[in-house]
Symmetry: C2
Subunit: 230 residues, 2 copies
């Protein structure tokens, strides 16, 4: 076993502590001593499990990316039900995704990815391959099912998924000051609603826009109050 002294798995604690410190300081500014302290471990122990500061970073990033991806994939679950209230379901999924997107760890992961992408090109492979790409694929699959059921007017599911995510997360960057400012949940809900409205304008079933009927003004296109969420 890799555990002798302190009970829990050493390696796991080190990786989590490492990500925390890297997120707080950035790669170059983070020192291994602080990582060790964060993980409740002595410095040589860190080097005992991970050879380098670089490999420490790589493994910490990979673990964090895996967590983030799992959470996001789970957020798509409501779309498995193809018979429910579609706008409400989309709004729910969008809202969940926005919450995860503004999560502290997810923001830190994005920041670290952006900052160290030049020094660690291989990390991009790890994270992006098991990150936004897989999410887009999963979402595209769900949307394809809905299109096949006649509930959406989609010819290219990948495009639809990409544009849904763009409409969802695009307006966020400005509002959240690139992940540094917290944003309250009702704002997230509003952002999800406008994104879903736009998405349904593009891919929704026949809209038949009568003169004066501006969909974007209606809280919920098909009359549901949509007040109960969460």
């Amino acid at each position: 076993m890799a555990t002798t002294r302190g009970g829990g798995d050493r390696r796991q604690a080190i990786l989590e502590g490492a990500f925390t410190v890297f997120a707080r300081r950035g790669y170059a500014q983070a020192c291994v001593k602080e990582v060790a302290a964060e993980a409740g471990v002595a410095k040589p122990t860190v080097y005992n499990h991970l050879n380098d500061k670089a490999t420490l970073f790589r493994h910490a990033m990979q673990a964090a990316a895996q967590n983030v991806l799992d959470e996001r994939l789970a957020a798509l679950d409501p779309l498995k039900d193809a018979d429910g209230d579609l706008p409400a379901t989309l709004h729910d999924v969008g809202h969940r995704l926005l919450r995860l997107h503004t999560d502290e760890r997810a923001c830190a992961l994005r920041r670290l990815l952006y900052s160290e992408i030049t020094h660690f090109p291989d990390i991009l492979e790890i994270v992006t391959e098991s990150g936004p790409h897989r999410l887009t694929q999963a979402l595209a699959d769900r949307l394809a099912r809905l299109a096949l059921a006649g509930r959406l007017r989609i010819t290219d599911p990948d495009l639809a998924a990409e544009q849904f995510l763009s409409l969802l997360t695009g307006p966020l960057e400005a509002r959240t000051r690139m992940g540094t400012r917290p944003i309250d949940d009702t704002t997230l809900s509003d952002l999800a609603r406008t994104a879903v409205n736009a998405f349904l304008q593009i891919f929704g079933p026949q809209v038949t826009t009568e003169a004066g009927t501006d969909m974007r003004k209606v809280a919920n296109p098909d009359g549901h109050p949509l007040t109960v969420e969460e």
Copy 2:
């Protein structure tokens, strides 16, 4: 004058060299010696113009952000003409914006912003205030004029601008591997086209989608060939 030896403005050369080096190495990894070499200047000269490495970074970022913003605002110029072929104009503007968005310096600026945002919170103010925010505002202004002229069905210009930019740049991140992989110009043109199509589905003049008419399959919604661009 601040120029004695080498003719050109010292400070300017230093700031440009600094941004180049920071973009190449990141803030922490960049050393002032290399900045001096890049600017063709001795190390004490750098400290003669900028007190700190930190202030050097700040000023370099500000200058770079200003350049990027100016280029982007200029890309909106075609929208000043409110009478032209609207989809073609939007495509043109979108294409220009995508080119600027994938520009090496712009990508480096975004990376540096993301990476050092925790250590330099004030840089965010400088860059974002004179960056995407101003761009969104300018675009919203143009779109409002077009809406007033009856060419777009927009009630909230800010929202429309935000969503246009989201549809435009959102799909880019995945395709360009976060700004590390170059992308060819025809792909950019295609991305601009799909974004414009989606945008017009949301905000375009009355669509009257007949059964079987999928706008996203048509290269140009109103019949123009749209082959001549640039």
